[in-house]
């Protein structure tokens, strides 16, 4: 089925039309910054588990070499973005609103940029699991900002097939133009990536949604599609923030609303960002893992533009290329609506960095102080998730988290529309973020407490059982002793009557019983409570154990006798 570009579109409720400022950074083509000398590559760059480092300090790595191995299925590998030497694996500050640090691989570039041997991945012959593992190990994640590991989404429809594959080129946030520029300059590769994805997903139709304020990108994509002879539809969607939200775009193109907590594939739709399509193309067709991305530098700079940045390049190096103005006082990762303010520019570019936005008092004047909510309902009109932000605000502010959840706090996509329209200048999203992280923390705490309770109760139960057993054992022993006594008395009598041989037997039996007991006790010395220890921990214990055995040998005379 070929979808015409003029297909029927749907609308989502709410939304706003802020000033876009996109032309700032679309005047010059995507640039390539000078090769950095030092790269700081955080291991944790996607949703899910933190990859384990698989290189060691001092090791020479090649460009594209895996340096962090995915931890479990919900995780994605990380790779060296250039060739060089690992100089440290240590805690470095992350581009995260907290300004906290996490484990990073620090790479000293050697300037040669030697690649690993790359070869195309024959996905046609591969099983679903192999494709999944391959993409996971290529580190492909959603580049729209959510950094959800792509292999999880690509696998989902493999057997069933899906109705529509949506490629998100809407890019609705002000200032950000990385997808726009990518579509203008690399449309052919994107289209090839989309074709790959379509085959993997077995999708009936493909729709590339682009907001109508990017005519050049639309034209480029249309040309690329027609050259490729694919039947993809390039759909122009009306410009309205947040049309680039995955759920909003799915709604606009297919009319389907995917509720919170459901996956779009359950509704026969899957949505990928254009940059992700390119990354998938590079991973599958060229065998190159994800080591760079397009980053927009905009805001308070005199030369805003896009760069293709190696993951791990420090933000300040990229910013310096754009001549930031003197009154810059803030750096935001992402756009003005959903971005997060960073503590410093001394952090690496990661897979989630779509934009480095510099702020000043002039372009983003500090919000006037928060006034009381007058319940004007503007926020409810603007909310694309059809929530009642004012009620959520009230509950989050009063820390009535249960109520906030009843009012669907977790359906909030943190798009910022409500804060944008609020006449009382209430930073509504800040309250929701606060409430959400508070609720998560509490749930985690609760789970831990429940687990502790269980373990405590089990322990009590075990203690009790052991107590019972001990009592029973003692009783049994006493009974046995009494019996033995009676027996030996009888034996004695018998012996006195008929010679010594019986007494010998009794002694033997007693010794045998004692040996048996000792053996049992010996058995009990086996490590307790080791069921839930991982293999590494066991290995570690064994290692330390041997080390300590020596120490114990030396220290033996002083030690109190063990039980």
């Amino acid at each position: 089925m070929i979808r015409q570009p003029q297909q029927q579109l749907f609308r989502f409720n709410g939304g706003v039309t802020p000033e876009y400022h996109k032309d700032q950074s679309t005047r010059v083509p995507i640039g390539v910054p000078p090769a950095p000398t030092e790269l700081v590559i955080p291991l944790h760059q996607s949703i899910g588990g933190t990859p384990r480092p698989i290189v060691s300090v001092g090791e020479r790595v090649l460009c594209g070499q895996r340096i962090g191995e995915a931890d479990g299925d919900v995780s994605a590998a990380v790779h060296a973005s250039t060739s060089g030497t690992v100089v440290a694996i240590e805690m470095r500050q992350l581009p995260h609103p907290s300004g906290l640090s996490s484990l990073c691989v620090v790479l000293q570039a050697d300037g040669h940029n030697d690649w690993i041997a790359c070869s195309a991945f024959d996905y046609e012959q591969a099983t679903a699991q192999e494709i999944r593992d391959y993409l996971r190990d290529s580190g492909v994640v959603g580049l729209g900002g959510a950094v959800f590991p792509s292999h999880l989404k690509l696998n989902a429809g493999h057997q069933i097939g899906i109705d529509t594959l949506i490629i998100n080129g809407a890019e609705c946030e002000p200032y950000i133009t990385c997808d726009d520029m990518l579509m203008r300059e690399r449309a052919t590769e994107i289209v090839r990536g989309v074709a790959l994805m379509r085959r993997v997903l077995n999708a009936k139709a493909v729709c590339i949604g682009i907001e109508d304020n990017k005519p050049q990108a639309i034209a480029a994509m249309q040309t690329a599609v027609s050259e490729s002879k694919e039947d993809f539809a390039v759909t122009t969607v009306p410009t309205r923030y947040p049309a680039g939200g995955a759920k909003q775009l799915i709604r606009v193109i297919t009319g389907i609303e995917v509720p919170h907590g459901r996956r779009s594939v359950e509704y026969g739709v899957q949505c990928f960002n254009v940059a992700t399509a390119l990354a998938i193309y590079q991973a599958i067709a060229l065998g190159r893992p994800l080591i760079s991305r397009i980053v927009t530098v905009a805001g308070n700079v005199s030369n805003a533009r896009n760069f293709e940045v190696l993951i791990g390049t420090l933000m300040k190096d990229i910013v310096a290329l754009c001549d930031p103005l003197a009154d810059t006082d803030r750096v935001i990762m992402g756009g003005p609506m959903m971005g997060v303010e960073l503590a410093s520019q001394d952090v690496p570019v990661v897979k989630a960095t779509n934009c480095i936005l510099l702020g000043s008092q002039k372009i983003f004047p500090p919000a006037p102080p928060e006034m009381p909510c007058i319940r004007c309902g503007e926020c409810a009109i603007a909310c694309p998730a059809d929530l009642q932000p004012l009620e959520l605000y009230w509950f989050a502010r009063a820390k009535l988290f249960g109520k906030a959840q009843e009012y669907h706090l977790f359906d909030c996509i943190e798009c910022g529309c409500c804060s944008y329209v609020c006449p009382s200048n209430i930073p509504l999203v800040d309250y929701y973020r606060f409430a959400k992280s508070e609720i998560w923390a509490r749930e985690k705490e609760k789970a831990l407490a429940d687990e502790a309770r269980e373990r405590f109760e089990f322990r009590q139960f075990r203690d009790e059982r052991e107590e019972h057993e001990k009592v029973a054992r003692l009783a049994a022993r006493a009974a046995a002793a009494a019996e033995a006594k009676a027996q030996s008395a009888a034996d004695l009598a018998a012996a006195s009557a008929g010679g010594d041989s019986g007494g010998d037997d009794a002694t033997k039996a007693l010794i045998a019983a004692a040996l048996e007991r000792a053996r049992q006790q010996g058995g009990e010395i086996a490590p307790k409570n080791t069921g839930h220890v991982s293999a590494e921990q066991l290995a570690e214990i064994a290692q330390i154990e041997s080390r300590r055995a020596e120490i114990r040998e030396q220290a033996k005379p002083q030690l109190p006798p063990d039980s």
Partner: protein
């Protein structure tokens, strides 16, 4: 007169029957009080409340034998929740039972540990792995920070390490506006 009495009593009977029916039909199987209290307590099982564990303390509260402010790990928030649940007055944490501390986990210095198993016997939640004459280690995820393993250790090799905030445990802060001192509260 008679009619009035009849009508009223009829009404009373009907309504009473309806209420009774509703009480049976829509009965909510509530947690017994002890369970509810226990759900609020942090399950550290440290015994600082002077009961041998969270559940016994919960039972004592439910029976009215204990105050609600005896659990230091639960802290102020815990007391508030208990006060809410039980409709009692909030009280600050009672000093004789201890002070609220940041969450910490126990760490065994493996070089010093002699493998005496005393700490294993003390740990209420089986968070310590080891066996006689073998090195012991603590599973940080399962340690509740109760400190019960500290005193029994003959070589003092267990220390408490405060858990620091990481990117995973970091929380968005409550929006605060310095210009409005009056709004910060609430």
């Amino acid at each position: 007169m008679l009619e009035a009495i009849l009508v009223m009593s009829l009404g009373a009977v009907v309504l009473g029957a309806a209420l009774g029916y509703a009480a049976v039909k829509f009965r909510v199987e509530g947690d017994p009080l002890v369970e509810k209290i226990d759900a609020i307590l942090p399950q550290t099982q440290c015994g600082q409340c002077s009961y041998p564990g969270c559940k016994p303390y919960a039972t004592a509260i439910a029976r009215g034998e204990a105050e609600i402010n005896q659990c230091p790990p639960g802290g102020e928030e815990g007391i508030r929740k208990l006060a809410d649940l039980l409709g009692r007055e909030f009280k600050p944490l009672s000093a004789e039972h201890g002070v609220e501390k940041p969450k910490a986990v126990a760490v065994i210095d493996e070089q010093t540990c002699i493998g005496c198993t005393l700490c294993i016997q003390a740990c209420p939640v089986d968070a310590i792995v080891g066996a006689a004459k073998q090195m012991h280690t603590i599973i940080a995820d399962q340690c509740t920070g109760c400190e019960l393993c500290l005193p029994p250790c003959p070589v003092d090799c267990i220390t408490m390490e405060v858990l620091h905030e990481t990117v995973d445990t970091w929380k968005w802060k409550y929006p605060v506006f310095p210009l409005h001192p009056a709004q910060v509260q609430s």
